[in-house]
């Protein structure tokens, strides 16, 4: 993975010193909260319902064990002993004191972590496929390009005061595990006819109150022109994106207003005027970054591990874990292991400091010191030997981290909601917990199969409800929490926006309604259909009937 050099480190030191100075001025009363707000937001510090929240950037969701241990230490020392992983592959601490933040930033900087551009109207932390470098279906490693973008976008002098926040995601695989089409810019690595590497560039995706799936701006961009092309898109957006209404300021609104043809024409025209030689990254620097992601030294192993086969034959729990949480690796004898942060009854995405320490140890010992965060709020050990799977599973089980539910009904994405967030209209966490309990029986959850349930506590859609197989949106109706269900969304390669099922439900009716939807699906599905496939075949009606007949 990419290791910071002296330049990257001095940059973080400068950033941390700057913020220490600003916090001192705020605590001394030299800055009002109004003046301080934009400064703290530039460092990922939000003021929420009960305390400050610090959002830490995890570039392309990639961490080493030292960084995970440091996050655990911060959680223990400055928070209530846990942290919350987000749908942006970031980590949030929800109980932070302002006076501690400069020390926390220093402690993070020591292990090459920071909170730069985790909020504000700038280019946010770049996200990527959490299986990067481990999956066989990859055309090129998206981390290389994500790191190129991370550096380029860091304190970009032209693009730090955009109309609104700006999110970029990269994947090198055909299976989209990074919700690429819901981003302001999405980058799909593609192989050109000449065998060279390039990108399909999509733009104008987004969620919030007006969801859009991104559209293709260019079906093939030679990879070496990534920065000049992204610069062209950002420049068109910076100049022409709306600034009169915060809800219409994202690039998706500009793309929709212009139409994709006209937007593309403007981008291509601007790109034609950019001096690519100055704007694109020199080959030598690209090579340097690429070398940091060179394939680690995998052992030469047989396809099949006898030790692992024997262990799983003897352990139904391990067998179940393998069925749901273990994915194929590109190298024989290795596997990708998903660590679920969705134990039944827990807060989705939360990890205790002790759990983080366990994951750090396992990552260091069994996964080539490589740990990933997924946008579905889980963790990944990307390089585990099949021989080691029984030991890894046992250690995860002991730490309450072996829930075998990846992509099943209880693997719910949820934003922090009204339990923490100042923007929320309704709670998300208790709803997720109620639903997960309905699928606590792992046999039932497996029988239902892939089902992506996502909950947002307000229209800002941090819980990705628009692109859920079953989406749940919390709304406030005369002081009472109501929940609007939608069906048929997807944030994956078959991306689509869900359709609203019917009138909102009170909190206690949500889990029973999900139950009814699932029962209806089990009744009408054919063959290997997932919930989403069945919905796409039969439409809303049977599901509507199942929920509202039951509610009456």
């Amino acid at each position: 993975m990419y290791l910071y050099d002296a330049i990257d480190r001095e940059f973080l030191t400068d950033r941390s010193n700057e913020f220490r100075h600003q916090v001192a001025r705020r605590l001394a009363g030299e800055l009002t909260e109004d003046q301080f707000k934009p400064l703290r937001l530039m460092n990922g510090l939000y003021l929420q319902l009960h305390a400050y929240m610090l959002r830490i950037a995890i570039p392309y969701g990639s961490l080493n064990s030292r960084q995970v241990r440091r996050l655990a230490w911060i959680g223990r020392t400055y928070d209530k002993g846990y942290g919350h992983f987000t749908t942006r592959q970031n980590l949030q601490f929800h109980w932070i004191k302002l006076k501690d933040v400069p020390d926390i930033l220093d402690a993070m900087a020591e292990v090459d972590l920071h909170a730069i551009q985790t909020s504000g109207n700038c280019i946010r932390n770049v996200t990527a496929d959490p299986y990067a470098g481990a999956t066989a279906e990859e055309i090129d490693d998206p981390r290389v390009w994500s790191e190129v973008l991370r550096q380029w976008s860091t304190l970009h002098p032209e693009f730090s005061f955009l109309p609104r926040k700006f999110k970029i995601a990269v994947t090198g695989a055909l299976t989209d595990r990074a919700a690429v089409k819901t981003h302001d810019i999405g980058l799909f690595l593609r192989k050109g006819r000449d065998g060279a590497i390039g990108f399909e560039v999509v733009a104008g995706g987004g969620q919030g109150r007006t969801p859009y799936i991104a559209q293709t701006v260019r079906s093939y961009l030679p990879a070496e022109h990534l920065l000049s092309y992204v610069e062209a898109i950002l420049r068109v957006y910076n100049r022409h994106g709306r600034r009169d209404n915060i809800y219409k300021a994202r690039i998706k609104i500009l793309v929709a207003a212009l139409g994709i043809e006209e937007f593309t024409r403007q981008v291509e025209e601007e790109w034609g005027k950019i001096n690519a030689e100055r704007a694109d990254l020199p080959a030598a620097e690209l090579d340097r970054i690429r070398a940091a992601f060179a394939q680690p030294r995998f052992e030469t192993l047989p396809d099949v591990s006898d030790a692992f086969e024997a262990a799983r034959a003897a352990s139904p729990a391990l067998q179940r874990f393998v069925r749901n949480n273990v994915k194929p690796h590109k190298v024989p004898g290795y596997a990708i292991v998903e660590v679920s942060l969705k134990a039944i009854g827990q807060t989705p995405g939360d990890a205790t400091a002790d759990q983080l320490d366990v994951v750090a140890d396992l990552g260091e010992r069994y996964s080539l010191d490589d740990i990933r965060v997924t946008h579905a709020q889980n963790l990944v050990l990307p390089h585990v030997k099949l021989d080691d799977l029984p030991a890894v599973h046992a250690a995860l089980e002991a730490a309450g981290l072996a829930t075998a539910n990846i992509d099943l009904a209880s693997d719910i994405i949820a934003c922090p909601g009204l339990d923490y967030c100042a923007l929320a209209n309704a709670r998300a966490i208790p709803i997720a917990q109620d639903i997960a309990r309905k699928f606590a029986d792992p046999d039932r959850a497996e029988k239902v199969g892939e089902l992506k349930i996502k909950i947002s506590g307000c229209i800002n859609a941090c819980g990705h409800h628009h692109v859920a197989h079953i989406g749940i949106l919390g709304v406030d109706k005369k002081g009472e929490e109501f929940y609007q269900l939608s069906l048929g969304g997807s944030g994956a390669e078959d991306a689509s926006i869900g359709k609203i099922l019917g009138p909102g439900l009170s909190a206690d009716k949500v889990a029973p309604a999900i139950d009814a939807l699932v029962e209806a699906y089990l009744h009408i599905r054919t063959g290997e259909e997932r919930f989403l496939d069945t919905y796409r075949r039969v439409g809303l009606e049977p599901f509507k009937e199942a929920v509202y007949a039951q509610a009456d």
């Binding site: 330049i7 304190l155 032209e158 620097e285």
Partner: protein, 172 residues
Amino acid sequence: MPKLIKLTGDPSGKDFGAEWAEDGFVHVGDDDALPEGDVILSLARFQAEGEILLSNSRRVGVRVEPDQEVEALAYDLPRLSVVALAFPKYRDGRAYTSARLLRERLGFTGQVRAVGDVLQEQAGFMVRCGFDAFEPADGATPEAWTKAAHRFRHVYQRAADHRRVAFEERAV
């Protein structure tokens, strides 16, 4: 009391600074009577009256609002002394693009001045995009401005200041 901060030295190097400067220019509104001497006009007024003003031996600057394109001035730039880019709110970042285009695409070598809601927290970004004069709205001094503009020892992307960027430092 001067209210204009000007950059001194070469922003591509480590030794540039900032100082108070006497401002010889007067901002003239669209309905104001034209005073004697050097003036900064709106783009509309410049397009209507600029030819005459430029021919009567005074220096002329143009104020460009964020929703106006600096490309409109492309053919006039060699004769202009100042382009003043307006920040109606500090959060409105369009003028950063305008400044880079003036410097890097249109080759403007006169003064690029930041006017409006101009705060010292923006100093680094502004200098990097090619601004070299500032009318601060927050009472910032040249010392504070210099310090803010030098806060980061390294930068990651090429811009109008032609500072050596991280990948160039690494290549040495």
